[in-house]
């Protein structure tokens, strides 16, 4: 099945699968209300081709550290560990979003930033998933862009 643009249900389904596989089956990721939180870590991947856009994952510090700890099964992950884990999480979410899309598309390598990743000025948010798990909130947004690019 391919779609013109990812929808909320697609993102929720993909994120849930990634979370179950890598964070743990007992750590469900559930939809939550829009909640402001200090974004400490962001990961982004760009999709280019017949559809161009960006997939961004944002987390507060404690959430990113806890996710890394579960993913890598280590108690005190380093900053490099967290960066790498956030990058892999957005890579898996973005890669699976890309595969839903119509046409030929390519996925960039992930970009990880301390703080927010800023989409290009002409980016249009097409989908936002506010999510919650036992350790806190996270947000996944999908942006459509005329020409793909990421700045941090």
């Amino acid at each position: 099945m391919t779609v013109e643009a990812p929808e909320l249900w697609d993102v929720l389904s993909i994120a849930g699968e990634v979370w179950t596989s890598f964070i743990g089956p007992d750590e469900p990721l559930v939809p939550a209300g829009e909640e402001a939180f200090p974004v400490a870590w962001s990961g982004a991947v760009s999709v280019t081709g017949d559809w161009s856009g960006m997939v961004v994952v944002e987390m507060p510090e404690h959430c990113a550290v806890a996710a890394t700890s579960r993913m890598l099964m280590i108690d005190e992950p380093s900053q490099a560990d967290v960066s790498d884990a956030v990058g892999e999480l957005v890579n898996m979410v973005g890669g699976n979003v890309k595969c839903l899309l119509f046409g030929e598309n390519s996925l960039s390598l992930p970009v990880v930033a301390l703080g927010r990743v800023t989409p290009p000025g002409d980016a249009v948010e097409v989908c936002r998933a506010d999510l919650q798990w036992s350790e806190g909130p996270l947000r996944i947004t999908v942006h459509s862009v005329a020409q793909s690019g990421v700045t941090s």
Binding site: V18, A85, E88, N91, M92, G95, N96, C99
Partner: protein, 126 residues
């Protein structure tokens, strides 16, 4: 059994190392296809390579084609482990010489089932 894990993500290498290590594999790691080729040219003889597609320097598809062009490595089993699930990419990788294809996210059982299918792992009943 020796496994060479080729992925630019340290997190993913760590996860695969744990799965394979628990299954009794001796694991080696490379952060891209070129580093993996260098290890193999240096004498490492893996029984199986687990290969990401999107990596800097040398991607997984190029690595597969390079390995398949070298007769010395004809017995090495190649398994793609990637987020790339487009059917044309899967066909390309298999046509280039990959034996199996696992799409991320995966469970440990999914990896071990594939290795079992390839005859590289036998699950010991509890």
């Amino acid at each position: 059994m020796k496994a060479l894990i080729i992925d630019d993500s340290r997190a993913m290498r760590s996860i695969l190392r744990r799965i394979l290590g628990d299954a009794g594999f001796e694991t080696h790691e490379a952060e891209d296809g070129q580093v993996a080729l260098d290890l193999m040219n240096g004498g490492l003889e893996p029984d199986v390579c687990l290969i990401d597609w999107n990596m800097p320097v040398m991607d997984g598809y190029t690595f597969v084609t390079q390995v398949r062009h070298n007769q010395d490595w004809r017995d090495v089993t190649l398994m793609m482990v990637t987020t790339e699930s487009d059917s044309n990419r899967i066909v390309r990788a298999l046509a280039a010489g990959a034996h199996e294809y696992v799409i991320k996210p995966f469970t440990p059982d999914a990896i071990l089932d594939k290795l079992q299918l390839l005859g590289l792992f036998t699950e010991v009943p509890a």
